[in-house]
Amino acid sequence: MTIAANSVEITQRIEWISAGQWRDSMASAHRQGWVCLDVLTAIDRPEQHEFHVVLHANRVDSAQGQWWGVVVPQHHAELASLVDVFKAAAWHERETGEMFGITFTGNVVSNHSAAQGLLLSADAPLTPLRKHVPLAARVDTPWPGSADPDPRRSASRRRQAPPGTRPEWFEIEDRQ
């Protein structure tokens, strides 16, 4: 992962772990001094039919941080919970469960139905951080870029999708 911050480039490696080794590997990292869980979240990768669950932990004996990652298939979106390794994982796993629909086995409240009401209201869309879930404002707002001053150009130009949208969001609307 490369993060550009004020022209200083900070390059941090993600250490990838297989799903079956996730809990044991993180317990081992914890024993080696990576005790402060900074963040745990997921990235939806619909084209690959998988999630990346990523975790960042810090040391307290030095100013060091490290990323770990694990690939979780979408057809079996389950991962061992880290609540017995990092207590702070309880919140992050509940949030990730609610936003992505990933079940963290061992974290009793992380699965989606139980986590309802943690952050989302009852009428919010399910798993709103999945990329197939439309951003309502992006679908409802007319895109300023659809206007074209030159009618000849708009006739010949390939229709461009508005930035920050996915084609399936508009298919859903067309069906209604």
Binding site: T141, P144, G145, A147, P149, D150, P162, P163, G164
Partner: protein, 108 residues
Amino acid sequence: MTEDIAIESRGTIKLSAPDCTSCMLCVRECPVWCIEIDSHTEQVTPEGARRPRSVAVLDAFTIDWGLCMYCGICVEVCPFDALAWAPTPREGVSQAEQLVAGIEDLAG
């Protein structure tokens, strides 16, 4: 206060309307949809030319500073340097509608 601001500071974005060809690149690349352009084409016949040609005339160009996140993609994509960073930040306003800046407002 102004003299303390470095010339390369990204305070605000200004528009040079005569350089704008209404190509719409900035509007379409803006990730937050904060730029709107209204324009039309006119037929003009330059002196000595045999045939008239179409020229885009800019009617309105607005940036909604309430949406803009100052990413500068519009400045980067503008092929004619009609958009540019200017060092002095915009002053605050008291009404949300005043955050929508037009051609004169963006002239800098």
